[in-house]
Amino acid sequence: MNALNAATVARVEPASPLPTLVRAPASLDVESREWLRSLRAQGSERDAATVRLHALLLRAARFEVARRRPTLPHLHGDELEDIATEAADDALVSVLRRLDDFRGASRFTTWVYKFALLEAAVKLRKRSWQGREVPLEPEGWGLFSSAGLESAAEAEQGELLETVQSAIAQVLTPHQRRVLVALALNGVPIDVLAERLNTNRGALYKTLHDARRKLRKHLQKCGLALDNWLEEN
C-alpha cells in the first residue's frame, strides 16, 4: 500500500451518523495569501516556494520524531531522520494536491503542519510495530486482578467483567469484535491495524464507534449504566 494513502485520513467515507462539521468561512492573512500565491506561481518562483514549504514540513516532521523518540529506543538517529524526511516528502505531495482545500480557517503554516505531523506519526507507529504480531483476540482481561478488593467489590468486579466480555462476544459482529478488542483492549495503534486489515483510519474508527455504541446500549439494557461510575475518581 502506498504510504501516503495509508496515512491520509481525508479520503475515507463519512462516518455517518456522526455530525459533519461546517467549514467556517475566513479571510486569508497576508502570510497565508503569499504562500498560496507563490505556490500557484510558475517556474522558479513556484520552485522556490516548494523548497520553502518542504523545509517547513521537515521541521514539523522532525518535531514529531523528537517527541516520540523516547518511545523508540531501538531506532538510530539516521533512521529517525530518514523517517522525518519521508514524512516531509509525502506531506508535500498531500499539501500540493489539496492546496485548493485551504480556505484560511487557520494560518497556512498551521494547516500544512498537520500533514507532516500525521505522516510522521503514522510512519513511527508502523515502525514501532514492525515485525510484531497484531493481537486481535482479548489479551488484557487477566490484568484486572481482584486481589486486594473486599469480597463484595471482588464479586461486583467479576460480574462486571463477565457481563462486558459476554456482551462483546454476543452483540458485536466478528469484525467489530476484532477491531474493538485490538484497538481498545490490546492497544494496537489504529494505523497499524488499518494496514494489517487493508483499510484506513476513518473506516476503522467508524467500526470502533459503532461497536462502542452497540456495546453501551446492550450494557444499559442489562442494567449496567456505567457512565457515572466511569466519571467518578
Binding site: 462516518a15 498537520k114 489504529i190 476513518g202 466511569l230
Partner: protein
C-alpha cells in the same frame, strides 16, 4: 485502588466517549482551526462540536492534536 483504576480506564476505552463525535476525517480537516482557537483561549468545542469527544475516543488523533498544539504554541512563544 489500582486495579479499579485500570479497569475503569479499560472500560472507558472500550465504551468510548459519551455523546456525538466527529470521525477521523472531519477531525483532521478541522484540527488546525481547532488548535488555533484553543491557543487563542476561545471555545473551540462550541465552534466544532464533537471534536473534543473524538479526541477523547481516538488515541491517534489525540496524539496528533497534542503535537500540533505543542508545535504551534512553541512558535507563538518565539
Amino acid at each position: 485502588m489500582t486495579e479499579r483504576t485500570d479497569l475503569k480506564q479499560a472500560l472507558g476505552r472500550l465504551l468510548g466517549p459519551v455523546g456525538p463525535e466527529v470521525g477521523c476525517d472531519d477531525c483532521f480537516d478541522q484540527l488546525d482551526r481547532y488548535v488555533e482557537l484553543e491557543l487563542a483561549g476561545q471555545d473551540a468545542e462550541r465552534e466544532m462540536p464533537g471534536l473534543r469527544a473524538h479526541l477523547a475516543g481516538c488515541p491517534a488523533c489525540r496524539e496528533e492534536h497534542e503535537s500540533l498544539r505543542a508545535l504551534v504554541r512553541g512558535e507563538q512563544l518565539l
